[in-house]
Symmetry: C2
Subunit: 266 residues, 2 copies
DNA sequence: GTCATAAGAG
DNA sequence: CTCTTATGAC
């Protein structure tokens, strides 16, 4: 079967439901992983997702901030995950669909100061990565796994608009790039986006709201990711396609993140 | 010449500019008097009004609350008015267009408790009426005058959805009805709406946002008025038409007030 | 710049 | 329910 997975930090699912429907009606996704839904479970627009063919929904919400949700065309099972977020915020969830485990993360942004001692938010972010990496090392590697979400790190030189200027900015500091590398190594994760858009092409999934014209300045970052573990990759046949739907960022009152999509046959 | 005057409490002119343009493009107004613009003068969307044929604008704004503005197809002169509002809020303005003076009021709502001693907002509202009435008595009655705006009183039995239930509610208490009567008497004002919609027809210009379906419950009030003094009425030839554009209240994210319109030839 | 929250007003 | 303001987050 063909499985098409989207990841999108929507920055308020209630405010963006019309755009989500418009987007999902114009592509061929089976599963959409949302971050920053910014609502509680009972406030989630379940019916609107059901109306466009995504009746199976798993929500991890909280009041006002953060929050993740997965909507699917097909039934799935929910899995419990370890407390990667030490503050207990709604940033993590896991499901199993067609034998593929999917982890949906909204990893903390980490504040402004890239110093673990001076900035607890930065420490919190790195500890989140450390906990995930530790778990990946002990996890049964035979189980197919896809990890996606707003991981809030742009790991590569060509994942940021200016490698030189971004090295001091949280999301692209050496410490974070190391943590991201340890995470990738721990899970032996495969990034299909860099096959679809080979280096040295710059690719971004997020552009600040503060830019008057994001296309013109194009000061973006690649903060959103969809990654496959070896067991999942081995299960696929044919091409694995990866797309960044940056045209959605051009809509009226958009999220600051673009949706990304990976498609494969298992 | 034919003169068509609209009065509309828009509840934020910046948020409602598209609706204002859509409305003005579908009727034949010459002058629109706005209340609750909720912005300062420099924040007013002057260009948007100019673009739809209303380049002459007079604004009395303040930060965040209240605020009145007049936009016109034709040039006019601004007049100073007495301080009817003892708190100095942006609730009053006057212009003269084609020899007709127009007063645009956003009279205080008056709070919840209909008791001048216990509720200063209620006292403020009645004092506003008293000051206007006193001024009308001394004003030169030969000068044509139109008074319009959100006057925040529904004076008649058929200006409210339930006369019995509203008598205890601010906007339709006996004290306010008396103050409104004194105001009408002082200026010998003519209300063209009750000729257009004769008693006992109930007519409203405002419906609470709290009603799920304002058409269904129809618990409205007639708080907005356009009134003519005898000198202006004597100057007119032919019919004076009066319309309540309640269809605008059905739009998406509308103001809680409907625009009202009076048209005459002078 | 664009979200959420909360208060205060209507 | 729907506006404003203000603050905080990103």
């Amino acid at each position: 079967m063909r499985l098409s997975v989207v990841s999108w930090n929507v920055n308020s699912v209630r405010l963006r439901m019309e755009q989500i429907a418009k987007f999902l009606n114009s592509i061929d996704a089976d599963v959409i992983c949302l971050q920053e839904i910014k609502c509680q479970e009972h406030e989630f627009p379940r019916q609107a997702f059901a109306d466009i063919g995504f009746p199976y929904i798993h929500i991890a919400g909280q009041k006002g901030w953060h929050g993740v949700a997965i909507a699917s065309r097909y039934p799935f099972e929910a899995n419990e995950l370890l407390p990667f977020c030490r503050r207990g915020e709604a940033r993590v969830q896991a499901i199993v669909v067609s034998g593929v485990e999917i982890w949906n993360f909204y990893i903390p942004a980490g504040g402004d100061v890239p110093d673990r001692a001076a900035n607890d938010k930065f420490d919190h972010k790195l500890e989140f990565y450390e906990r995930v990496s530790a778990h990946l090392k002990t996890r049964n590697k035979d189980h197919p796994l896809l990890i996606c979400g707003d991981l809030n790190i742009a790991p590569g030189e060509f994942d940021v608009w200016s490698h030189r200027q971004m090295l001091k900015i949280v999301s692209h500091t050496p410490q974070e790039i190391d943590a991201f590398g340890e995470f990738i190594t721990s899970g032996e994760l495969y990034d299909p986006f860099r096959d679809a858009y080979p280096v040295p092409e710059k690719i971004f999934t997020w552009w600040s709201y503060r830019a008057a014209d994001f296309r013109k300045s194009n000061r973006g970052l690649r903060l959103d990711h969809i990654l496959l573990n070896p067991a999942l990759k081995a299960r696929t046949t044919g091409d694995i396609t990866a797309k960044i739907h940056d045209w959605v960022r051009e809509w009226e009152r958009p999220s600051d993140h673009a949706p990304i999509q990976v498609e494969f046959t298992i």
